[in-house]
Each structure stands twice: as C-alpha cells, then as structure tokens.
C-alpha cells in the first residue's frame, strides 16, 4: 500500500482505530466456543453474557461520555417488567419484538430523565440516578396490582423465538438468543463509538468547555447517548425476564446498579470490551469466593476492589496481557521483517 498525500494518510489513521483487532475475533470465537463446549453451563453463561450487555450499556455513558450513574438498574428494571407484562398479557407475543418494545420503554424513561442527569456535576448525577432507581422500585412495589408487588410477576410463559425455537429447560435457546442479541448490539455500539458522534462524546468527557467551543451541542449529545444506553439496559432487563420467566422488585435494586460499577472497575471502561470481560471476571470471582467461603464473598470482592484501585488497572492489564502482547509483538515483528513495512 502506498500512501503519499497527507489526506490519504489522515484518512488511514482516522479509520485505524475502528479496524477489527485480532484479539476481538479471538474474543468472539472463545465466547461461541464456550457455548459449544459447555452445554451443561448454559444458565450461568447466559447470566454472564447478559451482565456483559448491561455493563456495555453503562460503559457507553461512563466510559465514553463520562456520565456516572448509581441507578442504571432503573432501565434494566423497566425493560424486565415491560417484557414480563408484554408476555403475561399477550400484548406482544413474539420475544424478539417484545424485546425491542421493552428496550424502547426503557429508552423513553432514559430520555425523560436525561435532562435531570446531564446537568450538574458527578456527585449530583450519582444522587439523581440513584434516586430515580429507588423511586421506580418504590413505585413497582406500590402498584402491586400491575407488577405483582413483592411476589413479582407470576406465570410468565414465553412463546417460541421467531415462532420457531421453543425456550428449553437447559437454557440452550436462551443462551444463544442472548449471545445473538449481545453481538448485534455490540456491533451497533462499535459503529457508534467510532463515528463522529462517538468521538464527540469522548471529547465532551475530556473537556466540555472545549467541546462546546468547537460547536458541539454538548447537552444534546449527552441526552442522545443516555437514551441510547437506557435502550441497551432495557434490553438486558428484558432478556433477564425472557430467559428466566421472572420479574421481581430486585431488578431495580441498588445492588444491581452497584455491581455494575464493580464489573466496569474490573474490566475497564472506554473500549467496549470492559463490560464483557468484567462480567466474566465478576461472575468467576463470585463463584470462586462463594465456594471457598460463602459468608465472606463480600469481603473478598471488597479486597479485590481495593487492590485494583491501589495498583491501578493499567498496571494490572499490563501484567495480565504481558504474555499475549509479547507473542503478538513477536509475530508482528517477524512479519515485518519478512514482508517489509506496512
């Protein structure tokens, strides 16, 4: 490839960040491989993938736009109850369509509350998002004739996916359904973050003053991404209801929102895979620790958190990725030596 003129070089480098990395192919191959290799573990794997999608949603606002939230479960919960009600009352029978409707319901809530969230500093945002989630939980409890109150929605029966695939008790259909939804939404998110819109979010997180001084409508962009992320969280919630046939008050719980932040602390923010990797690490830690010492799970996760914050995720990443990166480097330098410069 010869690139002589500056515009061509600029275009090349501008597109470079959006190019697929080999590690990304590896990631998705491993995920699908797990589904094929461990058919007895569909349920836990579905949980991990769903948590990953939920965390991806938070990453979109936190990692890209810098909006902190302690109440992301609000959207998860609205998605979950919407999917449950749609199925229970036979309003939208087909699960994929119901999933979209549930996601849109969460997006509507996201849009409406975004105006409260985007103004103010981090602390205000934490309080407002937390407050909205608590409020919804209380409302769900209050209107128990619709939501089933503390018992949750009872007797949800799912229709076959696309009219073809019956949800089975081993969770096979549920797992592949969740993986497919994650993949589609991931591709969409990937596209969005590499667009001018996505770049403008990173600019806003870095310096909102400068962002507005080059003509970026800061508030409008924040409203847009907050709504978009709410849609994702709503989809994650709807998947929860559809694959477990459950929707109870704990979909709104504070723990759910707080766990999500842990997931992103574990996995990192701002590169889209943080939520997915974090979800895996989080669930593995949870499993391991609760087998070792069931009553001390919180102690251990607390310890891990402190260690991460003290050592810094950057450094941990470097340690963990030391081997794969050196291999990649070795391969690449071998290639360069053989085939000349790129």
């Amino acid at each position: 490839m010869t690139m002589s003129t500056p515009p061509e070089i600029v275009g090349f480098h501008a597109r470079r960040t959006a190019r697929w990395h080999w590690a990304e192919f590896a990631f998705w191959t491993v995920l699908i491989g797990c589904g094929l290799l461990f058919p007895s573990r569909y349920l836990i794997m579905t949980e991990i993938v769903r948590l990953g999608l939920f965390a991806l949603s938070l990453d979109l606002i936190l990692g890209y736009a810098g909006i902190v939230s302690l109440g992301h479960a609000a959207f998860f919960g609205v998605g979950a109850y919407s999917a449950g009600l749609l199925a229970l009352h036979g309003i939208v029978g087909e699960p994929v369509l119901a999933l979209l409707v549930a996601g849109l319901a969460a997006a509507v809530l996201g849009f409406a509350t975004s105006f409260l969230v985007i103004r103010g500093v981090d602390l205000t945002r934490l309080m407002v998002t937390l407050g909205i989630a608590l409020l919804l939980e209380a409302l769900a409890e209050r209107f128990s004739d619709i939501t089933g109150g503390t018992d949750g929605l009872q007797g949800i029966v799912m229709q076959p996916l696309l009219g073809l695939f019956e949800f089975d008790i081993f969770g096979k259909v549920g797992f592949w359904y969740t993986v497919a939804v994650l993949f589609v939404l991931f591709l969409l998110a990937r596209r969005v973050v590499h667009s001018p819109f996505g770049l403008s979010l990173r600019a806003i997180r870095n310096n909102p003053l400068r962002a507005s001084a080059v003509g970026i409508p800061v508030n409008a962009r924040l409203v847009a991404i907050y709504t978009f992320a709410a849609f994702y969280a709503g989809i994650a919630g709807a998947l929860f209801t559809q694959t477990t046939q459950l929707a109870s008050l704990d979909v709104f719980s504070f723990e759910r929102s707080a766990d999500l932040i842990l997931v992103l602390v574990l996995g990192g923010t701002g590169y889209l895979y943080g939520g997915l990797i974090g979800a895996l690490v989080f669930k593995l830690l949870q499993e391991t620790f609760s087998i070792l010492t069931p009553q001390y799970w919180l102690f251990w996760i607390g310890l891990v958190l402190v260690v991460i914050v003290m050592i810094g995720r950057e450094r941990l990443h470097r340690w963990v990725l030391f081997l794969p990166r050196s291999i990649a480097r070795a391969v690449r330098s071998g290639k360069t030596a053989a085939g000349g410069a790129e």
């Binding site: 515009p7 600029v10 597109r15 470079r16 667009s195 001018p196 403008s200 080059v214 409508p217 800061v218």
Partner: protein, 250 residues
C-alpha cells in the same frame, strides 16, 4: 464600515466586583484588532462573554449585526465566532488528528453522524490534513494531546479554532508561556492567519501586538481607556501612564 463584532454597554460583575464596565467595543470586518490591558483588566472575561461562556449582566453583543447575547456557546461557533483559550483547553486523551477531525466534522454538519465512521469522507480528511500541515502537527497527529510539548499544544489550540472556519477569531494570549525555542512557530501561525478572518488578539507581548495589529483598544479595570491605531495608542499619555509606563516587560 461593516462591523464584524460589536458590544454595546457590556456589563459584568462577579459578586461586588465590576469586571466589565459599560464596554462598547467595535471590531471592523477584516481587522487585526488587539485588546490590551494590565493583568486582571478583564480581557479574558470579555472573551468569555463574547463566546457565551459567561452571561453578561447587561448590554448586548452583536456578531455581524445579529444579536447573539443569549445564544448558546456552540451556536455562536456555527455562526462563525471561534476562540483560543489563554490556558489550553484541549482533549488530553484525544490525538491532534481526532481533535481537528471533530472540529471539521462539526463545522461541516457531520458531527452528529452516528453511523458513518471517522476518516471515510475524503473532503473532511483533506481539510484535516490541511490544518495539521499548516500548524506543523502532521508529525505528532497520532500522539495523545496530553503528551505533546507545550508549544505543540499551543499550536493545536490555534489549529482547532481555525478548523471551525471562523469569520471572527478571538485569540487569548496565544504566545503565553511558550518557551523561546517554540515561539517562532506560534508567531508564524498568528502572522499567517487567513486575511479574510477578522482577528481580535489579546496579548501582553508588545512586539507581537504592534507588529500584528492595525487597531488597538486599551482596557483598564474593565472599562475602555482608549482606542486607536497603534501609533495613536503608543503616543497616548494616558496609556503610557496607566499601562506602558507601569511595567517594563509588558
């Protein structure tokens, strides 16, 4: 004469402190206008009001005859008013390529594209390259801005303002804090600004002011002391007393 930028009776107070006092400033289209004054005179505060970062307590601001007093910051930019900051306001994690790319995309109306990837529009790539080249940033275009030498960051600060294709450009002390070795690039960049762009320059460096400006306004304690050609201002006894005489190195 046509006015590019005009303030009428502008007033700004911070608590009890009057920082802009009945300021009526006229910047002619195509002018090289300098706004000078001692430290704390309120120059940056004027810029902040012109660009919408601060709301004035009274008075009006007209851009090419249109009242923009209550217009949000980003809309003024799209109307052709751009600025640099006295203290760099850049994106530490973004590269110069991304920084300029964003400004160009935004100006050309593609900033809210959420489907099309960066780097896939040839006209925008061309404009980014042109700006990077003009401000000597091509060699560092892929480094995170936070890691660049100060002089390069200062150039990027000007480049990003120019990338919005302003008709009126406000420069707030572009050469401030730049080490002697990198100073030349900044001065060249300021001198080489497109002639059709109206420039309002704030600067303490009198060599730069007098080589650059065709008109000078002197601000003291938030009020306009005098205004005129460089020769008139240099001769003005008031200016000598209050400003030029006060400090040798200004």
């Amino acid at each position: 004469m046509t006015l590019a930028l005009q303030t009428i009776g502008l007033e700004k107070q911070f608590g009890g402190l009057a920082v802009t006092r009945d300021l009526s400033l006229n910047v002619e289209a195509g002018a090289r206008h300098a706004l000078i004054g001692p430290n704390g005179a309120g120059k940056t505060t004027v810029i902040n009001q012109l660009t919408g970062v601060l709301k004035p307590n009274g008075g009006r601001i007209l851009l090419e005859g249109h009242d923009i007093t209550h217009m949000p910051v980003h809309k003024r930019v799209l109307r052709g008013l751009s600025r640099t900051f006295q203290i760099n306001q850049l994106y530490a994690d973004l590269t110069p390529l991304e920084t300029i790319g964003l400004a160009v995309s935004e100006r050309s109306g593609h900033g809210s594209d959420w489907w099309r990837r960066m780097g896939t529009r040839a006209d925008i790539n061309g404009e980014i390259a042109e700006n990077l080249e003009r401000f000597k940033l091509l060699d560092v275009m892929n480094e995170p801005t936070g890691t660049l030498p100060y002089g390069k960051q200062r150039l990027l600060e000007i480049a990003v303002a120019i990338a919005t294709k302003p008709r009126v450009l406000l420069l707030d002390e572009p050469a401030a804090g730049v080490p002697e070795s990198e100073r030349h690039d900044i001065l060249a960049a300021v001198a080489g600004l497109p002639r059709e762009v109206t420039v309002l320059l704030i600067e303490h460096d009198m060599d730069l002011v007098f080589s650059f400006a065709d008109r000078i306004s002197v601000l003291v304690s938030g009020a306009l002391l005098t205004e005129g050609t460089p020769e008139e201002v240099a001769r003005d006894p008031q200016v000598k007393a209050v400003y030029l005489g006060e400090d040798a190195d200004v």
